[in-house]
Subunit: 450 residues, 2 copies
């Protein structure tokens, strides 16, 4: 299974009913000309200076694989809500549209399309819910993880979030998004099995508690995991446990077995880390690292490291995979063009930029300077961020490997303007210009001239 | 497929690596005596006065179905991390333990076990991550949805959250949890297909935009959905659209077709609802309801209804399925007894109550008065909340239907003390007593006498 890098296939009916009722109406009316939908984020959450695109590969796999089987079609027919034209359409459904998108790992901002779907209207509409579900969550987590990567200043970060992620899907896709953004790996076994992401593990408190004696638990675990031994030392008394580890490590060292690190999961992590570091150093065990976990996020990581806590790695779980301080993005998948004519939604507070668009990035020195959103046919001097990845339902090129996407994310983070790299709000936002051509089109549309 | 009420089966390796490394050590040491683990929430989130248990049925289905196939075993062997004893153990794995739990829909509070797993130590440990993942998310969403149900005062609530839920799993399990808590249904087609949950749908802005004329879009949609027609009226100008709907409805009424409602998704919902209500009433269309959506949650629903906004139903999406103001619960699955002896974790801020426990509820009149957490063998006069649902790996009784669990949740919410029914913080918390027997055991354990 290793390295296949396939996302688990979803349910074809994980979609909103209105995708089917609109489909019925489109088929009844014969509205099957070319539509252009774009996915973008309307506003960055209050605590985000930038976002990181992720989820493209799982969307492309969905579009390649989406089929409606006999069970689904029988259910549809039995509801009595739909006619034979709709059922026949779904029975024959194969996605045959075009997809242009930012690559996974690309930094992006509000109002910038990160994916464009060009297809007959019924087809482009039908996939809305599933496309959004995948791009939204994975971009949300890659963006959260990137903040932790910047805060950690090179310390090792491991995803521990599966147990409180919102479902198994989220645990798996979140582990991948975090790795993409620079995490070293995940505790999630499925993430290694399916995506080849390095998997990490320590022990639970129950392991210590199941033994009558803490030192005996440490010895047993070291015997079972001689090469990757991480011992959890906060079940009863952290410093006392560190002394037991020191004694054990000195004994094990004589037999050639090394303990890799000790994990602290509760209490004042900075104080415990300093005490434990001193105990280990005094025993000559400078190679054993202190690893911290327990309700961590980028703010706490920054605080611990700024205070000089001697911590070499962090396990980050719940607050990563739920993006706890900003658990959703205000994203939308909107019709921007139909039958070659621009479209625009003007709802209050939710108006969109019409037309088929491209985003150009301008770099000064080694840093991003600003972006410009314009029409697709208004070529500019900057670097275009949306590239074709599927034409007529077929991939234009092989998918990048996860390692390649991870390397791209690292390059992108390195190019962030310094003011956007911090965690605080209040940094001057990144400049995203709307080109004169696009602004003119919006004005013309509103006057009824587009 | 309808009515089978089966959750999609997950991946056997959606688990933390440490479950496998601990398993290896338990097998090496022969630690296979009976362990008791309990799942509980340490603290309620700041904005919750109570929680609603959900997810039990999906946990029981997991425990019945969990198997490790040839692919998984081959992967394990190839890693070189585990020995043949572990691989043989997983190849033969069948969950054969006991499960006691609160029923789905039961109201619960901090420090109360909602599930107890009694099984040989390796077995009870192995399922930790998956059990937590399911109970955590579904209880999180049922608890959030219950607040919306209380705030809505009988107005119809529909889940629209799939697109921004954290994955497909979350969309489906969240739709079920919301329905359990009292929602009328969901936009998620899979929720009807798999669980028989009523599915609702309107139309997207793109449907209106795809037509050159808004009134033509309304006519087309009404023709395609004559029995369930809900028209979205905020794409361009809400009040102008309401007048178009009024004209169309009067024409349709002559042919016997009725529009059910109009949906407003942006702007000042209260003001638009009043204007639209007046337009419809003036046209004699009192049966057409106003349905509102757009970034809603229980606070906004309460505000709108308190202000007298004439809204008959609400579509609630992102903030429901991400539990946006409290996106996780501080829950834990902890070893409380091994080999017949109590166990206790004493980590700072995370100490647990030892032993195998039961929760008793005391009711005064028609309201919950307080609960008492005690040892399982300390029978009390109140109503015990944990009941056996699986013994030796087999269900004790058929699963309740979703309708039965939903009815239980409604009865539970009706019994909540009045001070806990509001959304505000600051209500005196519900009283959860620790029995003298349990307190004595904890003290004895800490003195090394338990």
């Amino acid at each position: 299974m290793h390295g296949e890098a396939r996302f688990p296939q979803g349910l074809p009916f994980s979609t909103d009913l209105y995708e089917l009722t609109m489909l019925q109406a489109y088929l009844d009316e014969g509205l099957h000309e070319t539509a252009v939908f774009e996915l973008f984020v309307r506003r960055l959450p209050a605590k985000r200076n930038f976002l990181v695109a992720a989820g493209l590969e799982s969307v492309l796999q969905l579009l390649e694989a989406l089929r409606f089987g006999q069970d689904e079609l029988a259910w549809l027919a039995a509801t009595g809500r739909f006619n034979a034209a709709l059922i026949d359409y779904l029975a024959a459904f194969r996605f045959s549209g075009d997809v242009h998108a930012m690559p996974e790992g690309c930094v992006f901002f509000a109002d910038e399309p990160i994916m464009r779907v060009t297809a007959p209207l019924p087809m482009a509409q039908l996939v809305e819910t599933q496309v959004m579900n995948r791009l939204h969550y994975q971009s949300l987590i890659a963006s959260k993880a990137a903040r932790m990567v910047l805060a950690a200043r090179g310390a090792q970060l491991v995803d521990f979030g599966l147990r409180r992620a919102h479902g198994e899907d989220a645990g798996l896709a979140g582990a991948r998004a975090a790795f993409l953004a620079g995490f070293a790996g995940s505790s999630n076994v499925a993430a290694e099995v399916l995506f080849g992401i390095p998997v990490f593990g320590t022990m639970a408190h129950s392991f210590i508690q199941a033994h009558d004696d803490e030192a005996a638990a440490f010895r047993s675990f070291a015997a079972a995991q001689p090469e990757r031994c991480v011992l959890l030392i906060d079940t009863y008394d952290t410093e006392a446990a560190a002394r037991k580890v020191a004694a054990l490590a000195q004994a094990l060292a004589r037999s050639g077995t090394a303990i890799r690190s000790v994990r602290i999961d509760s209490g004042d992590l900075a104080a415990h880390a300093r005490n434990v570091r001193a105990i280990l150093d005094e025993a000559g065990l400078r190679d054993i690292g202190v690893f911290a976990s327990g309700n961590l996020d980028e703010y706490e990581i920054e605080r611990l490291l700024a205070g000089g806590a001697p911590i070499r790695g962090f396990g980050v779980g719940t607050r990563l995979l739920t993006s706890a301080d900003a658990p959703y993005l205000d994203c939308a998948y909107k019709l921007q063009e139909y039958r070659g004519r621009p479209r625009r939604k003007r709802s209050e507070g939710k108006a969109t930029w019409p037309g088929r668009k491209q985003v150009y990035r301008y770099v000064e020195g080694e840093r991003m300077d600003h972006d410009c959103v314009t029409l697709d046919d208004d070529a500019q001097a900057g670097r275009p961020l949306l590239a074709p990845c599927m034409l007529a339902g077929r991939r234009v090129r092989p998918a990048p490997t996860l390692a390649e996407s991870r390397a791209l994310a690292a390059r992108e983070l390195a190019m962030l303007p310094r003011r956007l790299r911090g965690l605080g709000e209040g940094a001057a936002p990144y400049r995203v210009e709307i080109s004169p051509a696009l602004a003119d089109l919006a004005t013309a549309f509103d006057r009824g001239n587009a």
